[in-house]
Symmetry: C2
Subunit: 431 residues, 2 copies
């Protein structure tokens, strides 16, 4: 089939009639498919059921250093867990704090701490007239929700195929002391599934922010979440790079096992410089006596070491790889050559990004909904839910079954074609 | 033996010489006993080891309503856990949010939320010139640490044997709109081990605070932590009482299973009015996707219901009751009639409070330390660690073994006698 823009009005009208007939048939099936969130599917969760067996009533819940995991204490986490997550995050265990079950919570608390107490002796953000964050777009809606909740002004920065546009980032942070942070998902990014290239990471480590309390919020949520054994993205480790660049305190790096073991029952971690660490622990000391050490020990006993974790991630990949392939192959099959959108082909992570023709995303998502397929809301990948081009849609392939996913993608591409054909036809008729 | 004040200087000098000789012998033993924190002992922790067996890889981790506890979701907790903690807290499950592993963390976050976003539409506390909290004294050091960390001015209010002095509380909150809260441990209080009587709770529910965003921080940490079957304190349920009094939004009630199952691996909960609940969940929605539901389910499966929890608490009581009795009987045996201090005889909780002669507490704690017994620092029970009388000492009997506890208490009473005899002798000699 030729590109829609090259069709005549008559051809497009015929195409649209055919597509709408298909759509009616699909609607009649009354499907209910939820593609809205990046959740692991049941088969993935089943991979970690062994976690329920590694600690039993006859086991000793004592750490190597004698800490009884059942009692109070160990504010920054048990040594074994810091070592395991150190290997996972490519950081020294001494630079790591193990938190509770959610890295999102740690990020929220970090903004909240900066708001109430300031960062390393700087003015608390609540005392400033304005606080701004750079938000690479499209990006992760829950990041933007946190900064939005605090009334932080969010400045969109375009994402390129190699990461945020660093010319813009460098310029803005150097100019404006009100800019206090930037949200990053540097590896298998949400929603693109792309990874920052070496030059981007190096430029991040060498930023010269006007604000002494500017920090990079480096949410490495998908650090070991590869889809393939033989094709994997590699990301330069940011803490080490910042240290080499003479900016050791520039970055907060977050990670968790949420999409490795159980979302909601994993363990989260922060890696950062000794100075930042002191800032975090001062706060933490008032906030809690310690996090769930039994769950930390459970993770350590389950994986044994980083090799066990890597093997475990292979099993995840085996389950979700075919799902990603359904998404990209269906997009290619139904939309290839039509000139109605572009999409990414990630090697890892949880998402595929689709960009429709300008002004079509909301319409596509709405059409999907009316046919029983719930997508992430159009606009969610932008601060305040406002996508100026109305073109970005996040596709989350992991949760549905293969059959459901195929059905959902069939509907999705159908809706993309309808919406695109309508738009192009209207333009032709107006011309 | 007669009261020290009735002894002559010669008698006191002789007594002191005898006590110091004993102290030297004790020091020579080189003991290391830690009585500083209210931690459960190993036998208590062993009671909950069954928790490690109730969920295995062959179990279904699905809730009655179909929620898969392993995946994301259930922001306010799973229904079963809200019901169990509802029974524990004497509240309707719909008024309960289940949090992570620490109620202290929930309290911290609550202050932090008020600081950054304000309470129910009122001005965020960070925008106010001054924020004050009432602190019944002696009280819990970690409460005071939170308010101190936020720069909140802490106003001590004397505790009586029936709770805080309500004449003072009522007057202060009615007069001063800068007073935004009061810390309470209403049952088996820390450090007294006393419970607020009916009149006190009723007066709390009927406070007429000048500040619309004044809240009672009701930390019911020891609600079911009785030592005896036949003698138990009873506390009027505060939420219901506030509702009856027409002040439904006046109180935040906190609790947890930290001293029921495992400290650090329990579940925490908040109970409050629907209006407050909306405030909490708005915040929570930005802060996390949900807490650890697997651990919630683990608690539900372990206890079955509230009766199971009550039976479990009987076993705790059997372990720690003899420890409390060692403390109070040793105090009575060694100090009874000497007029050198007073102490409480709690029916539950985790602490016994000792009041020395004025100006002796630091000296006593320091002498204990030099003989190998670590007590909670003198002053810890007061805001900023400043006990104006230098007389209050918190005794935490649960963690040491019976033998260690007896040894520690022998040293403690010896130190009390030395310190008191010295003080009285000095006064006599000065007279």
């Amino acid at each position: 089939m030729k590109p829609y823009v090259e069709m005549t009005a008559e051809e497009l009208t015929a195409e649209l009639a055919e597509l709408k007939a298909q759509y009616k048939k699909v609607q009649a099936l009354g499907m209910h498919l939820d593609m809205s969130r990046g959740k692991p599917c049941q088969e993935q969760l089943d991979l970690s059921m062994g976690m329920m067996d590694v600690l039993s009533s006859t086991d000793d819940l004592t750490c190597e250093d004698g800490t009884d995991c059942r009692n109070y204490g160990a504010l920054t986490g048990i040594k074994e867990a810091r070592e395991l997550l150190g290997d996972m995050m490519e950081n020294n265990p001494k630079d790591i704090i193990i938190y509770g079950n959610s890295s999102l919570n740690v990020m929220f608390d970090t903004i909240s701490r900066a708001w109430t107490h300031g960062i390393m002796g700087n003015t608390p953000w609540c005392k400033l007239d304005e606080v701004k964050f750079l938000c690479p777009v499209p990006g992760y809606d829950r990041h933007f929700a946190i900064t939005g909740y605090f009334g932080i002004k969010m400045i969109p920065v375009p994402m390129t195929p190699t990461g945020p546009d660093m010319d813009i980032v460098e310029k803005l942070v150097a100019e404006d002391p009100a800019i206090k942070g930037i949200w990053c998902v540097p590896k298998y990014s949400n929603p693109q599934g792309i990874s920052y290239d070496d030059a981007t990471v190096r430029r991040f480590a060498r930023l010269k922010p006007a604000a002494p309390d500017f920090r990079i919020f480096w949410d490495n949520a998908y650090g070991i979440h590869h889809l393939y054994d033989d094709r994997q993205d590699y990301l330069i480790e940011i803490l080490a790079e910042c240290k080499r660049a003479g900016n050791p305190d520039l970055v907060y790096k977050f990670s968790s096992t949420s999409k490795i073991t159980f979302p909601g029952s994993g363990i989260a971690a922060l890696a950062t410089s000794p100075n930042n660490m002191e800032d975090f622990t001062t706060h933490l000391r008032h906030q809690t006596i310690g996090h769930d050490k039994v769950n930390q020990l459970r993770h350590v006993r389950f994986f044994g070491n980083i090799h066990g974790m890597v093997e475990h991630m292979r099993k995840h990949a085996d389950i979700i790889r075919p799902k990603f392939e359904i998404v990209t192959s269906t997009l290619e099959r139904d939309l290839g050559g039509l000139g109605v959108g572009t999409w990414t082909n990630p090697l890892g992570g949880y998402f595929v990004m689709f960009n429709s023709l300008s002004g079509c995303a909301k319409d596509i998502v709405s059409r999907c909904k009316k046919a029983g397929v719930i997508m992430t809301p159009a606009g969610a990948t932008w601060p305040n839910g406002q996508d100026p081009n109305d073109s970005n849609i996040r596709i989350a392939p992991t949760f549905p079954s293969l059959a459901d996913l195929q059905a959902a993608m069939d509907i999705f591409t159908l809706c993309v074609r309808i919406s695109s054909a309508k738009k192009i036809l209207a333009e032709k008729q107006a011309a």
